[in-house]
């Protein structure tokens, strides 16, 4: 079994510090352009949660070259798509254009790296939109569970605060706060440009070079030191919530190793053994094996700092959340003690490989994948991660399960239906 690779991507770092990746896909009909900044919510100043996300919104509200609304209009006119996402670690912007128009995507990204207007009226409008987004998440049970779990698991570390921000912080933020954030973190030396499709690296470099022409030298930029921001361990907790809902919900989380940690690849297989497919251990035990659990899923976060490994379950009204959590713990203890079979690990690898292949099917998936690994540690780290996933043994899976998923280190959140 090998990792699918059509061709090795080109990768370099420009004088101004901008990291550039380019993956060629001859014949592909579209080109994806991703610009990723190390400016996720972990960079939100104290008392200003949501500022990184609000900045993401403002990046679409006009620059000295593109008026407010022009980025979306141009995207439409050229048959493209655009969007952005803010995560704990980074904020990423993307364009996907037909192959003949992709350079516009790079031009917009280079321009808005330093020329955003951050207009006062637009800022108030975007604050209002972010408030709506905050309220939307307050209405979504999955988001409520996740935010409660992150708060319990990370405490005062920025990973414990919602990416969209707390309502009081959104109301407190000023345009000056946002401008300071933008001027601090939106710089070539804090960014990765990734392009995937039928393109020549030389052309990407030529366009990206203009970012360096207008940027201050990387060495003159002052960025706050965040090396001490790795989260400490939180005490195990069980948070209990209620809701006028017809189903009961459970979310259990464990601190799992960061993306570059040597145990990170084996954790991918732990997730697959436990939760990928109807023959996975948790599906068999909980969904096929009990009358109350209707769905179970496993997720793990690859991040700069230790992320969360989570198991979530939906139960019918009257379902026993305590028994469900015990059953999950039982499976984890069993996996750590006896380990998976060779066949189980082989199956997990194939499922992981398929999920990865589907993720890289589109130019955007490929560009995003490369941008992420370039950001956290370089493309070889991503290749090494994949190689180690496929090389992991049943013993590796058992060992990391024992180290990271012990019942004593869990945080859990229960959401029970309210009695009318």
């Amino acid at each position: 079994m090998t990792v699918v690779s059509r061709s090795d991507p080109y990768s370099t770092t420009l004088d101004c510090g901008l990291r550039v990746v380019c993956a060629r896909r001859p014949g592909a009909p579209v080109v994806a352009v991703v610009m990723l900044y190390g400016a996720g919510s972990v960079r939100d100043p104290s008392g200003l949660s949501g500022l990184a996300h609000l900045t993401e919104h403002m990046m679409f509200r006009g620059t000295t070259r593109f008026a407010d609304g022009a980025i979306d209009e141009l995207t439409n006119r050229l048959g493209g798509a655009n969007n952005a996402m803010t995560t704990n670690d980074y904020t990423a912007y993307y364009f996907v254009f037909p192959v003949e128009s992709w350079t516009v995507g790079v031009e917009i990204e280079i321009d808005r790296m330093s020329n955003c207007l951050l207009d006062a009226v637009a800022f108030e409008t975007e604050r209002s939109i972010a408030v709506e987004e905050r309220q939307m998440l307050d209405d979504e049970p999955e988001a409520i569970l996740e935010e409660a779990l992150e708060k319990a698991a990370y405490g005062s570390h920025p990973y414990g605060l919602p990416i969209v921000g707390l309502m009081e912080d959104l109301e407190r933020a000023t345009r000056d706060d946002l401008r300071r954030f933008y001027e601090t973190w939106y710089a070539p030396s804090n960014a990765v440009l990734s392009v995937a499709g039928d393109v020549q690296p030389d052309r990407v470099l030529e366009l990206a070079g203009s970012a360096c022409a207008s940027a201050a030298p990387a060495s003159s930029r002052s960025m706050p030191d965040v090396s001490g921001k790795a989260p400490g361990r939180a005490a195990p907790t069980n948070v209990r919530l209620s809701r006028d809902s017809g189903i009961a919900r459970l979310l259990v989380g464990f601190r799992c190793p960061e993306a570059l940690h040597e145990d990170s690849p084996a954790m991918e297989l732990v997730a697959a053994v436990l939760g990928s497919g109807r023959s996975s251990r948790l599906y068999r035990r909980l969904v096929a094996g009990t009358p109350d659990v209707n769905d179970v899923s496993v997720d793990r976060m690859l991040q700069l700092y230790p992320g969360l490994f989570t198991v979530s379950a939906d139960l019918s009204v009257g379902g026993d959340l305590s028994a469900c959590e015990d059953a999950i713990m039982g499976e984890l203890v069993e996996l750590a003690a006896a380990g998976p079979s060779v066949e189980e690990v082989a199956k997990a690898k194939r499922l992981w490989l398929m999920e990865r292949s589907l993720g890289l099917e589109s130019a955007l998936g490929l560009a995003g994948h490369l941008a992420f690994w370039k950001f956290v540690g370089g493309l070889p780290a991503g290749d090494e991660h994949a190689r180690r996933v496929l090389a992991a043994t049943p013993d590796d899976v058992a060992r990391v399960t024992g180290v990271y998923l012990s019942p004593e280190s869990r945080n859990s959140v229960w959401m029970t239906p309210e009695t009318p």
């Binding site: 009909p29 969007n83 709506e132 017809g246 066949e343």
Partner: protein, 424 residues
């Protein structure tokens, strides 16, 4: 237009099963889709949810592979076996790594040829479906959409939620599922499509081998009467939430309607474009900051029967009235005045680009092959698509808007803590 796609092969078996396959070199993965004309259109009000229950049972095992055996076979191949149901069709899909394509096709053949019906499987599938129904009650969008379809479609079969109701699903039994399968899980009218790094002719040969013995009598498929227009009805559903969810609209067009291309363009101009560049996005979100989400859909549900046109947004309760006013103004405007030439050009470009992007996925390409067959679009549809869009005029878009976007003839559903009509 897309160099990454290759040969297309097609065949129709004596049983009526249409087979289509397309090669996508270097894809690494493949997707096979079997589309059966067995959606909730063929439920009755008393047995609402039957199509969905019958579909859910398809992945619970086969005559020769019990549920967990089947699951283990599929997972060991590194594949996913999924089933989905909508108003028109039940679709069983297998997606996997290209190197085990033949094995996956064998599994799919077995699932279709040798379905298993056991009480314990039925109860598990029923439980999951009831849980989905309960979950829908907790999702304001789904709650609004279901109520909206009920208002818009009246007695037409599309008024029912695809998954049925707690009462109807609780009353379904093995005999109901068996009868539904016998009637509708048949090769006549079914389409099998595959896309990936595979040899199309080999796929057709493999499909003939796996599905050649699959037979069944073509069912009678009475066409429901055309739905009546909604005519200003509205419904408020109280839900103690922070936002108020609004869905308004009415009956749309069928896929075969000559107005369909104009409706697609109308949809982009109104609310379905890149970023927030549509009229509703620009005005409601970017202009007034009233909502995080605002979108329209006038084309995706167009099928053998007329689909639906809806506009959806969610906002603070105190701003719901204003949001409704803005949406109505925009709907009326598009019905009264044609879009500008520039808007028309942007919408065409957006739709062409979207088709290119969607074509990156084997799964989407397989679904596209199915649609081309089911709606008789022709296998050259991709190459004709640009001309089709180019033939749509501004006046034709206005005609579509005047017909479909008149707020006076729309239904409206509001889900939230308070009704915007109390003081509106």
């Amino acid at each position: 237009m897309d160099d990454s796609r290759d040969t297309l092969s097609a065949a129709t078996l004596g049983s009526g099963l249409a087979i289509l396959a397309e090669r996508r070199p270097g894809a690494g993965v493949f997707s096979v889709l079997l589309s059966l004309e067995a959606g909730s259109r063929y439920d009755t009000d008393e047995r609402a949810g039957l199509a969905s229950l019958a579909a859910g049972l398809m992945v619970e095992g086969t005559a020769s592979s019990a549920g967990q055996d089947l699951a283990l076979r599929v997972d060991s191949l590194g594949a996913t076996l999924d089933v989905s149901v909508d108003y028109e069709v039940c679709e069983i899909s297998l997606t996997g790594l290209s190197d085990r394509f033949e094995d996956c096709l064998r599994v799919l053949g077995e699932v279709v040829r040798e379905p298993r019906l056991r009480t314990e499987d039925l109860e598990r599938a029923r439980r999951k479906q009831l849980a989905e129904i309960d979950e829908d009650q907790d999702d304001p969008f789904t709650l609004a959409r279901n109520a909206f379809l009920d208002l818009v479609y009246g007695a037409h079969p599309r008024h029912r939620p695809v998954s049925g109701s707690r009462d109807s699903v609780s009353g379904l039994g093995l005999a109901d599922v068996e009868a539904f399968r016998d009637a509708f899980y048949v090769p006549a009218g079914a389409v099998l499509a595959a896309v990936g790094d595979l040899e199309p002719q080999s796929f057709v040969a493999g499909a003939e081998r796996e599905f050649g013995s699959w037979i069944g009598r073509p069912p009678s498929r009475p066409r429901p009467e055309s739905p009546r227009r909604a005519g200003g009805r509205r419904r408020f559903i109280h839900k103690d939430r922070k936002q108020t969810h609004v869905m308004l609209g009415g009956i749309g067009v069928a896929r075969s309607d000559p107005l369909y291309p104009a409706v697609s363009i109308m949809d982009v101009v109104l609310g379905d474009s890149a970023g927030f560049g549509s009229r509703l996005g620009r005005r409601l979100r970017e202009g007034e900051g009233l909502a995080y989400v605002v979108e329209s859909d006038a084309a995706s549900t167009a099928g053998i029967d007329p689909g639906v046109v809806w506009i959806y947004t969610a906002t603070s309760p105190s701003r719901a009235g204003r949001a409704l006013d803005v949406v109505r103004e925009e709907l009326q405007l598009l019905g009264r005045r044609p879009p500008s030439l520039d808007e028309l050009a942007q919408a065409r470009a957006y739709l062409l680009g979207r088709r290119l992007r969607e074509g990156e996925s084997c799964e989407e390409l397989a679904a596209r092959l199915v649609r081309s067959e089911r709606y008789h679009l022709g296998r050259d549809y991709d190459s004709r698509y640009a001309d089709l869009l180019a033939s749509v005029t501004r006046e034709r878009v206005q005609e579509a808007a005047a017909k479909l976007l008149d707020p006076e003839r729309h239904a409206c559903v509001v889900v939230g803590p308070s009704s915007p009509w109390d003081d509106h």
